[in-house]
Symmetry: D2
Subunit: 402 residues, 4 copies
């Protein structure tokens, strides 16, 4: 389902090339810090925009906020200074050490924009109050910097899967439950999404956590007329799968099994070492593969926390397939990458593109952005080539409307 | 460049679902024998059409010769009986041993249709005489079986690259040289292509040998109004490359090097152990990668003859790429497949599709079939997704025109 | 601890080159069938003894039963005929199809020697009675064929790990419990080991199941003066680890993590798909790696059931290590093998070697056979090179004593 | 052949724990600089001696020069300052950037000890004069620092293979030719080895270049009573091969082919991009594999220069082997390492061990050091486990003799 357009809204023909906030939930983490350092370096002309798809045609046809029109703010529940996190990332090979000096002033400015995040385990009181406080932080940030709009992007640690409650499907019931200090009805990621909508901000979920993916929150987004996108940024193994699985299909080759192992360290590794947290990620990945290959393909998948790998993520995939007359063949893949380096430019791209969607008056799930996600909202398309095409079509439409 | 259509030709609206010959140059080799055994098994309903893209939408929209409308004939310079080759292939894991009994009668019938091939080293006299003899074999085969048309497909061993001569660019000069018993102006694959055209047959080059890829032969094809396709079937490593290289581009990731090693045994391994023969293959592969990635990407490539691997081909690719802020990452691939099992269904597909193009009055290089080739004639498109799209568009057009 | 010798026993200087029984527990499975087919083919001179270490110096110095002195019998709880299992293995690439005809008579003879196995789930009554029946089967087999001795080898499916009971540590208490029809005090593998000892037979556990590895059974073996060996044949990934881990140590390189994934189908895959059964295997593998590398090396390990792989087992290992000045490096391994083809010759080797140990009057755990096992009984040595040396020393001693 | 001992020489019972020079030929290259930075860091207690086998038992039983007794000097034909090379290596991930500050004074001191190297292409005159100049540099260094001995180690770029001349086999003829200004009878590496011997220094060739491996130079070493070792440090792919090939042999598995591809950048990659230089390396590697597996194993091997990989070396090996009843299986390896980080600690180890051999009065080729080399001088043993044993035996003898 594509996003709904509202050609009658006054800002429908507005350009997104305006001062724009990028509010990062999980602003002190590896992905956020890499995005921020990269933005500062791009703004200063110190690096090429490698990995930024908004710098390639046809996305360059859209009026987007320029690098120096993006202002960073955010929430986090830890208090590691961005400069310190950047140092760690440089030591781990994600950031070039030589860049740190050049961005230190910028990081200090960003640090000043960060506010304490919310986590149910450490905050008492009604969740509505917490959400109001989060929304106020964003509203105040928007006003302080005179921003035309703020895009909220979730890059916080993965949460465990959510036990469903009836309130998740009904906005009024949800609002009532949020006001009850005795209840914890939403996970942190959904509280943040609720706060974003209440602050009038488009929202992006770059993680497999719940975020906005509840019927009640979808209703709210519809009600307030905001666009959103997600879930779970597609950066490595799943990207490969969304490219390769269609190849087998187009060649009429029969995939029999697709086994995968992911080794990762860093904070992500530690989070995903907890089977509860890992299962969100595994479910998100498995849904994609089943959509691509059908559900009868055996696809065991593991995520292992291997702390010594640091920020490096290594994924091994073994594909067994059958060809003409039943001939048995295989493909193995080993992907070795820095997840933060793969994710960060997409976070910047999404901030720009969702800003443009908002400027164009789009609302609801932006299915045309399935290109970016493992588990796309507003789309059932997992084939990479089709996602490329849908994104290009959307860009042309958006670019041409001005 | 797409094939030219001739809507005014009387057979332009003709259906290709008619008795059709598939004349295999190299008819006693592994690819040919696998195709023939597979065709017999498909005809008998013993196997699923795995690997046959003509059995998938949208190609199923086209009126194609049915499996039992395809009649096999061919040339070869060796005299291994197809039944014996099939046994070898069963021992090597390419064919299921249980199938051999069921196809033995069919193989004997095919054997009766095979004629001695041509090789400059072992045939004296003018090449024109050789070509006339080859053409007569095909014409006689067509008449004997009452075929509506015959598609000639080259699946013979790879030849060394051809030293260019002025005659290759000029049809009249070529014809004169062919008539001179003292000259050897064309390699065997081009003599066979010439013979096919002279016999009024559409032609497909599934190998990296010269075949029809000379300006003089293109002129001849134009003159006699025949379609053709090639070159070099895309079955394994190059298929992967044509899928993965665009992924890096679409994600704005910068590929820095793409190294490849191919290990193969079998007859193909022995042929390609000769550096002269291998260089045709290497050139064909390298052109594709340069088209996909640009010529500044370091891409060392090796083909090693490893006889003990038999019919198995193992390819290892190592891709080094750069992401955001210069982060260095890599992808490794190991592809283990049976080249004959990958090639054979495509040979059957091509026979059917080129028959349909001929029935529709198309002529010249069929660029829409780039999907099948490492080094496509009539197209500069190497990106797999774009090739899929072009093929689908062509199929829809062809399917709808009836 | 090496096996204890009893130079005073009358048969201490006896040659093992005598009619010898090989009694297979799990005689209708893949490993057993591969071993039997192989033995028949070796006896007929149809194949080279590839994979048989008893055919290499210095083991050739020992007087061993010749191939045609080995007589096969066994127990199993399923009733698949060996000839049918052999056919399946030929279809799966483990056995050469051409061999089946030549061994069909031999397989029929073996079939006649097989007796129903024991499993607690399907047999009521005291376990002692079951053991007596098993022992009688073996005794009767020995008498029927006039065998000098019978070596019992467990190649049955892996059992789940055993909850420890006090009776396992005390032979008298165990005997009492075995006589109680209301109790199930031993798993099937240990009942079979008990029966072997009671029948006066040396015993080998080629699986990670309990077998003889209980203090009470060790006491019994000591009491009756029999040698034994185990556990868990070292055929693939663990073999590589026992070779490579010492390399890192000898080069003073610091292994930081060693992750492994095993993909396997076949019966073994199905058994190990059950987490209970898999954990025996995983524990056995993990103990070996910890012994080699120390327990502070992160070593996640998975076994996945991937039915379409059939008899093929694919293992991927990723080793991360640190070199001079902390440089981070890695080694990846992909092992693709047929477990049955790797195991079967070792089963034959073990039957011959344990027969020789018995002939020489050795008793207790044969630590010198650690070379063959993931989790060696009677030895704490996991380094392959040291195991090679220990085996050679043992062989020289045994060879020279005659 | 083990080194000859001369128990009657006065210094035979001398301890090597004395001020010792390490004279590096190629002192400004990556390996040398990594060794020097590491030595400085070890001396300062800043790092653990990872990768240094002389810090492990039983080598710790030998009296060796302590880290702070090693004084560095050397020759080189380029003039890159060590501090600048160290910076490059830190940027490339070989050295930890944080270490650079701590070793900068030390690097400046080393820089002061370096002298211009010799290369036939850029130096006119008799080679004897060049050798005399090189020897004088070393002698002067030894005197200046009051060193008990100086070990000369070649870590310069690989030379092309040497066309053999009659003079190479005859010391007198060689001396005559060296004195002739019109002749270039030795490559640079052999001139340096000659100079080392003339300066009374033990010599180590860590490269596949000629060095001391000429009969005439072996005679000279014998005459002057000096020990030496080589050739070609075994750091990566060959190390793995020397560990794994014996595994297949010990398990009676039949290796059928062993294909290898090496991708490397850096200076080494550029040097080896020249087929002439690469062939020295390839020959050295191939000799080792043939010694391990026999010469009938197909073993294609490639070295590709892939500049973007920088100091990282990636090697892929594909081993095809045959098991019981002809079952076909495979092992693949991917090794990703920093050659300089693997080589540097071995260079320090060799300096210490060869100093100890010299102190003990050993002379001739030190076959017991085969552990360190692809193409060992004084030994035909390529199996890693046997090399470990030989080294340990040598160490025990040397350690016990004092």
């Amino acid at each position: 389902m594509a996003a709904h357009q509202q050609p009658d809204r006054p800002h429908a023909t507005e350009s997104a090339a305006a001062p724009t906030g990028l509010w990062l939930v999980g602003a002190r983490g590896s992905v956020a810090t890499t995005a921020v350092v990269g933005l500062l370096a791009l703004r200063a002309g110190l690096v090429d925009p490698i990995g930024c798809v908004t710098e390639r045609p046809p996305l360059t046809d859209i009026d987007l906020p320029a690098w120096d029109q993006l202002v960073i703010g955010g929430h986090d529940i830890v208090d590691t200074p961005p400069a310190k996190r950047a140092e760690q990332l440089a030591g781990a090979g994600v950031l070039p050490p030589a860049l740190l000096g050049a961005v230190s002033d910028g990081l200090a400015e960003v640090e000043a924009q960060l506010r304490p995040g919310y986590h149910p385990a450490s905050h008492a009181g009604a969740q509505r109050a917490a959400a109001d406080r989060l929304a106020a932080d964003i509203t105040e940030f928007r006003a302080r910097h005179g921003l035309r709009r703020v895009v909220v992007v979730n890059v916080a640690s993965t949460e465990p899967p959510l036990p469903r409650l009836p309130e998740h499907a009904d906005l009024a019931a949800l609002e009532a439950a949020l006001a009850d200090p005795a209840r914890t009805v939403l996970p942190a990621s959904a509280v943040a999404a609720y706060a974003a909508l209440r602050a009038g901000c488009p929202y992006v979920n770059f993680t497999p956590s719940t975020g906005i993916a509840l019927p009640a929150l979808a209703s709210l987004a519809e009600q307030v007329g905001l666009p959103y996108a997600g879930s779970d940024g597609k950066t490595g193994e799943t990207l490969l799968r969304s490219v390769l699985a269609p190849m087998f299909a187009e060649r009429a080759l029969r995939v029999r099994s697709w086994a995968g192992t992911n080794l990762l360290g860093g904070g992500d590794g530690a989070t995903l070492a907890d089977p509860g947290h890992a299962s969100s990620k595994l479910e998100s990945k498995a849904r994609g593969l089943a959509a691509l290959l059908g559900s009868d393909v055996r696809a065991p998948l593991h995520i292992d926390n291997v702390p010594d790998l640091g920020e490096v993520k290594t994924a091994w995939d073994h594909v067994s397939f059958e060809g003409f007359l039943g001939a048995r063949m295989s493909l193995q893949l080993t992907w070795t990458g820095y997840d933060s380096a793969l994710a960060a430019p997409l976070v910047l791209d999404l901030a720009r593109l969702v800003a443009a969607a908002h400027a164009a008056g789009q609302r609801g799930p932006l299915g045309a952005l399935a290109f970016f996600f493992k588990d796309p909202l507003g789309s059932t398309e997992h084939r990479f080539a089709e996602q490329v095409r849908a994104l290009a079509a959307w860009a042309c439409e958006l670019g041409g409307r001005r």
